[in-house]
Symmetry: C2
Subunit: 151 residues, 2 copies
DNA sequence: CGTTGAAAGTGGTATATGCCACTAAATCAA
DNA sequence: TTGATTTAGTGGCATATACCACTTTCAACG
C-alpha cells in the first residue's frame, strides 16, 4: 500500500482520544490557570468534594485510575494544603481523603473558571453534541474489554 | 445544593475524556504489551512512518502535541534504536525524524497487535459508534477555542 | 489462637505531557 | 551588512499515569 493512501492516525480510537485529550487539556488548563490548579487537579478536588470522605480506592475506581497513580497525583495537593488524609478508624488499611478549608476555597475559585471553559466548549461544539460525547465516553469508561475466555 | 444531587464528573467534557483515555490506554497497552511498545509509542512510530521524514514540528502539529513533549517522548524510541533524527540540509534549525530498520520491524509487529485491540474495541462498542466517536474527536482536535477578542 | 491469603496503600521506576527560559539559525528591516 | 524578530528545538522542572514489588491489616480457616 503506497504511503499516500495509508490511513492516518484517525483510524485509531485510542490515538484520537489522546489527541483530543491533549487539545482539551491545553484549553481547560489555560482557562483555569489563574486559579493555580491544573484542570486535572480541579477534577480530583471535585471528586473528593462530592464524595463522603472517600477512600483512595473508591476515588481511583470512580476515576478509572490506578491506585498508585492517584497516590502520586494527590501529593502536590496535599503538599499545597488543599487535601488531607486520615486512616479509617474501622479499618486501618483504608486511607480516607477530604478537602481542607483551603481546598474548598480553592475549588470554589477553580469551579468558576471551569464553568467558563465548559461553557466555551459547548458554545463551540454544541450543547447536544457535547452531551452525546460525554455519554459515549462515560459508556466507554464502564466497558469490559476482556477477551472472552478461549475455552 | 445537597451533595446527593451534585453533578458528578460526568458533566465535565475534559474529565470524561481523560477517564475514557485512561480506560482505553489500559486496554490498548495491555494488548500491545507483547511487542514491548506502549500504544502511545506505536502511534508515534506510525505517525513518523506515514510521514515523509517529517520534521519534529510537523509531527507535533499533527498530534496536537507540544513540541518539547514530543522531544521527550521520542527519547526512549531513539535510545532503543527504533527512530533516528537528522538535520534538514536546507534549514539547519529543522530536525527530521525517520524510522530505523528495527523501527519498521517493530512497528509491523505492534500493528498486528493494534489490530486486535482495535477490532475488539469495535466489537464491543460497535463499528458505527466508534466511527462517529473518532469523527467527533477529530473535529475537537481541530477546533479553535480562542475567546473572541474582547474588543 | 496462629497461619494464610486477600485487600489497601506506598515507593520506585518509566513514559507522557506541558510550560518556560534559552540557544541556534534563518528572515526581515533599515 | 547589521541588528531585531521569528522559528525550531533543547533542557529543566512539574504533573499525570501505569506497573511492580513490598508492607501492613484484615479476614477466614483449621
Amino acid at each position: 500500500m503506497p504511503k499516500d493512501t495509508l490511513p492516518g492516525l484517525t483510524a485509531c480510537n485510542y490515538a484520537m482520544l489522546r489527541r483530543a485529550t491533549r487539545k482539551l487539556g491545553q484549553f481547560y488548563d489555560d482557562v483555569q490557570a489563574p486559579s493555580g490548579l491544573k484542570a486535572t487537579q480541579q477534577g480530583l478536588l471535585y471528586q473528593i468534594h462530592i464524595g463522603n470522605e472517600p477512600a483512595m480506592g473508591a476515588i481511583a475506581a470512580a476515576l478509572v485510575m490506578d491506585l498508585s497513580a492517584l497516590g502520586h497525583t494527590l501529593k502536590p495537593l496535599i503538599r499545597d494544603g488543599y487535601v488531607e488524609t486520615f486512616a479509617d478508624p474501622d479499618d486501618r488499611r483504608i486511607k480516607r481523603v477530604r478537602l481542607t478549608r483551603q481546598g474548598r476555597i480553592k475549588l470554589d475559585e477553580a469551579m468558576k473558571l471551569w464553568q467558563l471553559a465548559q461553557q466555551r466548549f459547548e458554545d463551540v461544539v454544541g450543547k447536544e453534541k457535547a452531551e452525546r460525547l460525554r455519554a459515549v465516553l462515560d459508556d466507554i469508561s464502564a466497558l469490559d474489554f476482556d477477551l472472552p475466555p478461549a475455552t
